[in-house]
């Protein structure tokens, strides 16, 4: 049997789902409303949509998407800066694929590419370093967009460029870390959540212990989950158990990947290359110490310092509610632009673009109505 199939076994899934239903009903009686959980990570959002879980849980418990999609939380100003790099003569922009279609104030990298900008998609920043080495006549600016999972690979690419003497490689760091965003969420008085499904990949880096503040300071249950259907059902089961028992703990439901203390080597890389800095998140505004900026000794590889492109004050589209969505205040269907003015072809906000974005997942898998080729 394919290894993944064990985590998707339909019979086990249906049995677990039945137990989740029972606990959800009891939680609803206790709370006087259906329990509300947030899946922090965009990969969970997509997994939930793809497994068809939302339709099964409809009315029994509510799942809200959170700020764990690195593309989605990237601020307008940062996107405009990335586009501005593409307009500089002699500059090739290297990026992960998700970023290409995200609209900034007036244009996207995809549009700039059609107009002549050199934009290249890489699966790994190491490939971008190799490209720079093979093309010494061009400046490669790599867009560092990611969380604790991605930032170490970006740090290593700079180490590689330094070791190989690749001088035409630099990185624009829009990297962020997750725990400060959870603090910002939890401090929001409007938030009404009964628990978190915590991101599996990020937790592999930072470890279970890094989330203890959720239970200790804010008294909310949380479960670190993998991305298979059974992982997610298991996480819901443990969250509901805690809600019913009135407990608040950080449960590690992804022990095959996540350790108590995380991955010390990746953490050391983050410490070696980056300093925490206050950065703006879409929907949240500035969150203290939530960004990763290059340490002074790596400033030679900092694209922002090397090129300092001029960027006008960002213009934010009216009606886009990506920000509220990322704070769990609404689901995509409640946004007036969803599937009308905002579609994957004409995205208004990043949540409709990224393969991790909640709006894109809802659009692709959870949208009713005959809209298609002949609309």
């Amino acid at each position: 049997m394919h290894i993944l199939d064990r985590f998707r076994d339909a019979e086990t899934g249906r049995a677990l789902l039945g137990r989740v239903f029972v606990l959800a009903e009891r939680a609803r009686e206790k709370l006087g409303r259906p329990p509300v959980f947030m899946e922090v990570c965009g990969t969970h959002t997509v997994a939930i949509s793809r497994a068809g879980l939302r339709s099964l849980l409809d009315g029994k418990l509510e799942l809200r998407s959170g700020p764990g999609c690195p593309v989605c939380v990237t601020d307008y100003g940062d996107i405009d800066t990335m586009v501005a790099f593409g307009r500089l003569p002699g500059v090739t922009v290297g990026t992960f694929g998700d970023m290409v279609r995200v609209p900034g104030s007036t244009t996207s990298l995809e549009e700039e590419k059609a107009r002549g900008a050199d934009v290249r998609v890489f699966y790994s920043p190491a490939d971008a370093v190799q490209w720079a080495e093979a093309n010494p006549g061009r400046q490669m600016v790599f867009l560092g967009v990611g969380f604790e999972t991605t930032a170490p690979a970006i740090a290593l690419s700079v180490a590689q460029a330094q070791a190989q003497g690749v001088k035409n490689y630099s990185v624009f760091s829009a990297n962020k870390v997750v725990p400060p965003a959870l603090h910002a969420l939890l401090a929001d008085p409007e938030l009404r959540l009964d628990g978190f499904i915590l991101p599996g990949h990020v937790s592999a880096i930072i470890g279970r212990r890094a989330y203890d503040f959720i239970a200790d300071q804010y008294g909310l249950p949380s479960v670190i989950s993998g991305f298979e259907t059974l992982d997610i059902l298991d996480a819901l089961y443990h969250l509901l158990q805690q809600v019913l028992a009135g407990e608040a703990r950080v449960v590690n439901g992804y022990t095959r990947v996540v350790r108590e203390e995380g991955n010390p080597r990746a953490q050391a890389l983050l410490k070696q290359f980056f300093d925490p800095t206050d950065v703006s998140w879409r929907g949240f505004g500035v969150i203290p110490d939530s960004g990763l900026q290059w340490k002074p000794e790596y400033r030679a590889f900092d694209a922002a310092a090397r090129f300092a492109p001029e960027v006008a004050e960002p213009r934010i589209p009216q009606g886009c509610r990506c920000g509220d969505l990322l704070k769990g205040k609404l689901t995509p269907r409640e946004c007036k632009l969803f599937a009308t003015a905002c579609t994957p072809t004409h995205p208004v906000g990043p949540c409709m673009v990224s393969s991790e974005g909640a709006c894109a997942a809802f659009y692709q898998y959870e949208r009713r109505g005959a809209v298609g080729a002949r609309e």
């Binding site: 497994a51 339709s55 593309v71 059609a114 213009r315 005959a370 080729a373």
Partner: protein
């Protein structure tokens, strides 16, 4: 309403991926200027009345990067792609025209490999190349080699395939695993380590479709090849055009283990990946078991499955997941982009 809606005043790569933007281009520009009754049908091949029967005509251009990939090359693809458009229209393909657009500096030995591969594919499919054209452009004006093929075939009298023949209760079959071609090309292009484990399914379908039509006659309602945009996009187009709902069962849809694992890793959905030797067929319910046996009896249909059914509705495609949940499938929107984390 929006301060800064991005206006698309230039052609984006996504206009050519067979998804939503392609449809906007086809309906909003090409049909607006060039539309007529035949073109407006938007079928895989045009059916033109000629004497007793009907003639089927289709054309396609092939711009694949890389031109050689596991399981095929641009020549084989250019022949199969056009044959398959004819085949799923119910036509027996007879003739092909070929136009080569070649970049200055392209290796002559590679060109010969491409042409030899076309010849072999034509011979196997029983089709002849009857006209051709060659253009060479300066270095950098196109990428290596592009090929256009136009195919002509004959639709036998009495053959009637089309959206108008779909009825609730009809069953939906595919002839094998989804996504092999799309993943093989993606892996070859990006040089992924598993590239040698995924082989394109590129194949001429006219024998297997001809066999099905000959045996089942009017029991075959509709056929579609599952190229750009994959199974999901084709199903959505059928549902919308025919004004029905399509219900697919996720666990019944065949996907090979390597493609499944790789798709998982890259964050793409196999149901949206291109195929070049796969077709979907809608079959009258009483003929479905026979159709399945016929498909499985053919070398291009060993992994054939019944994957869903037509229900009355208004153009939705529902995918029943293994757990019993439901999700909706839509057209491919933009080329699949690799994700960040």
């Amino acid at each position: 309403m929006l301060v800064n809606k991005v206006e698309q005043d230039v052609i984006l790569l996504a206009h050519g991926d067979g998804g939503r933007l392609t449809h906007e281009l086809v309906t909003g520009l090409f049909l607006r200027y060039l539309g007529n009754r035949v073109l407006g049908e938007l079928t895989d091949a045009a059916a033109l009345p000629v004497g007793e029967g009907r003639m089927a005509v289709t054309t396609d251009s092939f711009v694949i990067d890389p031109p050689f990939f596991p399981g095929g090359d641009i020549g084989k693809l250019a022949v199969c792609g056009t044959i398959n458009d004819l085949a799923v229209s119910g036509a027996e393909p007879h003739y092909l025209t070929v136009a080569f657009l070649i970049e200055e500096g392209f290796s002559l030995a590679d060109l010969e490999r491409v042409v030899a591969s076309m010849a072999e594919t034509c011979r196997e499919a029983g089709i002849q190349v009857v006209a051709g054209d060659t253009k060479v452009v300066g270095r950098g004006h196109l990428d290596k080699i592009f090929i256009n093929t136009t195919g002509v075939g004959v639709i036998a009298p009495g053959t009637d395939l089309g959206y108008h023949r779909l009825a609730p209760g009809d069953l939906i079959l595919v002839n094998g695993n989804m996504g092999d071609h799309g993943m093989a090309v993606l892996a070859a292009r990006e040089g992924f380590g598993f590239a040698d484990q995924v082989v394109s399914d590129c194949a001429a379908l006219n024998r297997i479709t001809g066999h099905l039509l000959a045996e089942l006659g009017p029991g075959v309602r509709l056929m579609r090849d599952l190229t750009r945009g994959g199974l999901a996009t084709a199903a959505k187009e059928i549902a919308v055009t025919a004004g029905v709902d399509i219900w697919l069962s996720e666990s019944a849809i065949p996907v090979g283990p390597v493609v499944r694992g790789a798709a998982e890793m890259l964050g793409v959905d196999p149901l949206y990946l291109a195929n070049e030797g796969k077709f979907l067929t809608v079959i009258a319910p009483e003929k479905a078991d026979q159709a399945l046996a016929l498909l499985r009896d053919h070398e291009l249909g060993r992994e054939a499955r019944i994957i869903g059914e037509v229900r009355s509705g208004e153009g939705n495609v529902y995918l029943k997941t293994a757990l019993g949940g439901t999700k909706y499938l839509d057209l491919l929107a933009g080329a699949p982009l690799p994700r960040i984390c």
